[in-house]
């Protein structure tokens, strides 16, 4: 999630590579599914073969091994080519070079439209994946669709919740905020009482920003067909979010420690940062890497704007997709089906501490009733699995989301650095997004 300028350079190079290579790649887009069917998957599993799977999921290696055990004819080469941006750079290069890519790849929901719309991924509809809808939460099921196609099966989900340091809250007499106005009030109270403490850290993170806009009801990105894009970062929902967040940013009530740095992990441990608004995968991070604060953290539903019916958004999460480049799309699709739909695989995933997207696992009493010692015995999954059913629908990411996020820092990110108006920052981001989209051959409208 941290994106440094170095990443931007690499991404810029990768995209220039992509442009250059588009000229010389052999245009091998012909493969995929004339005869795709559910039967083809079982036939492919019987026949066997070798597929390559790129992923940085912690349980990926173990899941691949479990699959090989169940289907001895199949050999899965698990490769971790990097996390996030590094992974996409490698993937994009392989796609444009026309070779060297995996058969199956992990792709985060935010990046899926980009790879689906550039026609790099196999539409899995023909394989009977459309019948699996009931197995997944509504929001993740929506996330694996682009246009009318299904481009993967959800691996995990990240419904957002509010994680707060109970010790700090108690010490300064702060109640758990129900609304965002309460949250701002809590921020003021905390920082006034102890100027070294902040309600949150936000150094300007595009993934975090878009998820909070999502919760507020903003729908800034729309894509019709595969070329018509609308960018509107001034819609009502977005403004609702900036109205709250401006108070925090302009009022210097949030610190700007960059996420995922050692400084950030440290600040989560020593109470400098009192709350984290993040996806349901956050407890894993805290338990694993913020051991100093064991017993201090707790989780609550995300604050709302009106104090009414709870509503939340997805923050992070990935799917597995099949590349058109694959020589064996049937086998690759069969692997994806097993990976994110077979209980043997899901159990390995859950064992590693992942937060599932499958309704059966979310609703199982064993999962819901898990009482976490790290969270002082709180049944955190009650809050988190409930949140998974309260995700606001209809969100879309841009078909060039990855690039969009790299330029977030030069535009909207500046508002965080200078403690200035976020609306102006988002407008600057929008201008750049419109210009870039048009350069890339999209037809971009401003809402």
């Amino acid at each position: 999630m941290t994106r440094t300028p170095r990443r931007k350079v690499i991404w810029a190079l990768a995209t220039s590579l992509a442009v250059l290579l588009a000229g010389c790649s052999s245009g091998d887009d012909s493969s995929s599914g004339g005869n795709a069917s559910p039967e083809a998957l079982d036939a492919a599993l019987d026949k066997g073969g070798t597929i390559t799977y790129w992923s940085w999921t912690p349980s990926g290696k173990e899941q691949s091994a479990a699959f090989e055990k169940e289907y001895p004819n199949v050999n899965v080469e698990f490769v971790n080519v990097g996390t996030g941006e590094d992974h996409y750079t490698a993937l994009q290069n392989a796609i444009k070079a026309g070779r060297g890519g995996p058969d199956v790849t992990q792709i985060e929901y935010r990046a899926l439209p980009q790879f689906a719309l550039q026609e790099s991924l196999v539409d899995l509809t023909g394989y009977g994946f459309e019948n699996l809808e009931d197995d997944y939460t509504a929001s993740t099921w929506e996330s694996v669709h682009v246009g009318d196609g299904i481009y993967g099966l959800p691996q995990d989900s990240g419904p957002m919740a509010l994680f707060y340091n109970k010790e700090v809250f108690t010490q300064y007499g702060i109640a758990v905020p129900k609304t965002w106005d309460d949250y701002v009030a809590a921020a003021q109270k905390l920082h006034a009482a102890d100027p070294t403490k902040y309600i949150a850290s936000d150094a300007g993170d595009p993934g975090f920003t878009t998820s909070l806009i999502w919760q507020a009801g903003g729908r800034p990105f729309k894509t019709e067909g595969d070329r018509d894009v609308t960018v509107n970062l001034q819609d009502e929902g977005t403004k609702k979010w900036t109205a709250v967040w401006n108070k925090l940013v302009e009022g210097k009530l949030v610190t700007n420690i960059t996420g995922w740095t050692d400084e950030w992990y440290r600040a989560l441990g020593d109470g400098t940062i009192a709350t984290v608004t993040a996806g349901a995968w956050m407890p894993g991070i805290l338990m694993e890497s913020v051991q100093a604060a064991s017993g201090k953290w707790a989780v609550a539903p995300l604050p709302t704007y009106d104090g009414g019916e709870p509503v939340t958004a997805e923050h992070g999460g990935s799917t597995q997709s099949v590349l058109k480049q694959s020589d064996n799309p049937d086998l690759a699709a069969a692997f994806v089906r097993w990976l994110n739909n077979d209980q043997a695989s899901l159990d390995v995933f859950l064992e590693s501490g992942g937060f599932p997207a499958t309704t059966a696992d979310l609703e199982s009493s064993e999962f819901r009733d898990f009482s976490s010692p790290y969270f002082g015995g709180q049944k955190i999954n009650e809050v988190l699995t409930t949140a998974a059913t309260q995700v606001s629908s209809g969100w879309e990411y841009l078909p060039y989301q990855l690039y969009a996020e790299t330029i977030f820092y030069d535009t909207a990110g500046q508002a965080y650095v200078n403690n200035t108006d976020l609306d102006a920052g988002l407008r600057a981001w929008q201008d750049t997004l419109v210009e870039y989209g048009n350069q890339q051959g999209f037809s971009v409208n401003q809402g």
Binding site: M1, T2, I10, L13, S16, L17, L20, L21, C24, W56, T57, P58, V79, N80, V81, G82, T83, G84, D86, T89, A90, N93, A94, A97, R99, G100, D156, G158, G259, W260, D262, Y265, R266, G269, D270, G279, W281, G284, I285, E288, S289, V290, Q291, A292, G316, G317, S318, G354
Partner: protein, 290 residues
């Protein structure tokens, strides 16, 4: 304090400003190293709850080293082996080629020599990073990406090393010596290996040192050429470990990244300490010759 030393000799003068600047620079250079050594002794948890520039938690250096070598089925050892391969083949080859070519250009007169000179000077001016993308395209078309050749082959070319040897050979290997060797009946190959090579040793060591350092630290080229961790050098591998600490499902292993970095620089430091004797003696050996 005798500021003016014995007449005639160089004075052992002291400038307060220069001393201050040099001390600052020393601190600037050493602090990251000190930080690295101190933090390599901490466990992952202690990294986040102890002061950055002092020890904290229990002393975990040896546990960290053991874990670095065994994590993910000992992939670190594989990366170390890859880096050694790239250095031996890449930097070794680069030194050999630069020496032969530099000597040839310095000592033989042939048509197009000036053109070669211009091309080499031009090549020095282009940073390797700028060539990485075209190189990637070329290697991709040849199907060589994701193989060790993709890293070794570009490392074989060192225009700067060639230029250095060229300039050095012009002075260090007297034409008269080559002439007399020829009169004695030695062939050109034999002259190169038996006569010139020995005189060129200080230059070769310098070029080798530069080549070793740049290949050992090479990051960008392998980053775009190689996707598969089994061919990563240490630099790219450590970056992958560091990247593990981000995002949903993050598994930070910063203690291994830090310990791994420390282990990565040790061979380089050793190479410098071992080779610098040749280097210094060579630099001064040339300087008083007429």
């Amino acid at each position: 304090m005798a500021r003016k030393a014995a007449h005639g000799g160089l004075m052992a003068g002291k400038s307060k400003v220069l001393t201050a600047v040099a001390s600052l620079y020393l601190v600037y250079t050493l602090v990251p190293l000190v930080w690295l050594v101190i933090n390599a002794t901490k466990s992952q948890a202690a990294l986040f709850d102890s002061p950055g520039l002092w020890f904290g938690g229990s002393f975990a250096l040896f546990a960290n080293i053991a874990e670095t070598f065994t994590y993910d089925d000992g992939i670190f050892l594989r990366w170390l082996g890859n880096t050694l391969l790239y250095v031996v083949a890449g930097a070794g080859g680069a030194t050999l080629l630069a020496t032969a070519a530099g000597y040839g250009l310095a000592k033989y007169r042939f048509a197009g020599r000036r053109a070669v000179f211009a091309v080499i000077l031009g090549a020095i001016a282009i940073p390797g990073t700028a060539l990485a993308v075209p190189t990637f395209l070329m290697f991709s078309a040849m199907g060589l990406t994701n193989t060790p050749w993709a890293v070794i082959t570009p490392s074989l070319v060192s225009p700067f090393g060639l230029y250095l040897i060229w300039v050095y050979a012009a002075d260090a290997v007297p034409d008269e010596l080559i002439e007399s060797a020829r009169i004695d009946g030695a062939g050109e190959i034999r002259i190169f290996f038996s006569v010139a090579l020995r005189l060129l040793v200080p230059g070769i060591v310098t070029v080798a040192l530069f080549a070793v350092v740049s290949t050992w630290n090479n990051y960008f080229l392998p980053l775009i050429m190689i996707n598969e961790p089994r061919w990563y050098p240490l630099t790219v591998g450590l970056n992958q470990w560091s990247g593990q600490g981000r995002g949903a499902g993050a598994e930070p292993i910063y203690h291994l990244v830090i310990t791994g970095s420390l282990l990565t620089i040790i061979p380089l430091v050793a190479a410098f300490l071992l080779l610098q004797r040749f280097w210094q003696s060579g630099l001064s050996a040339g300087s008083v010759k007429q």
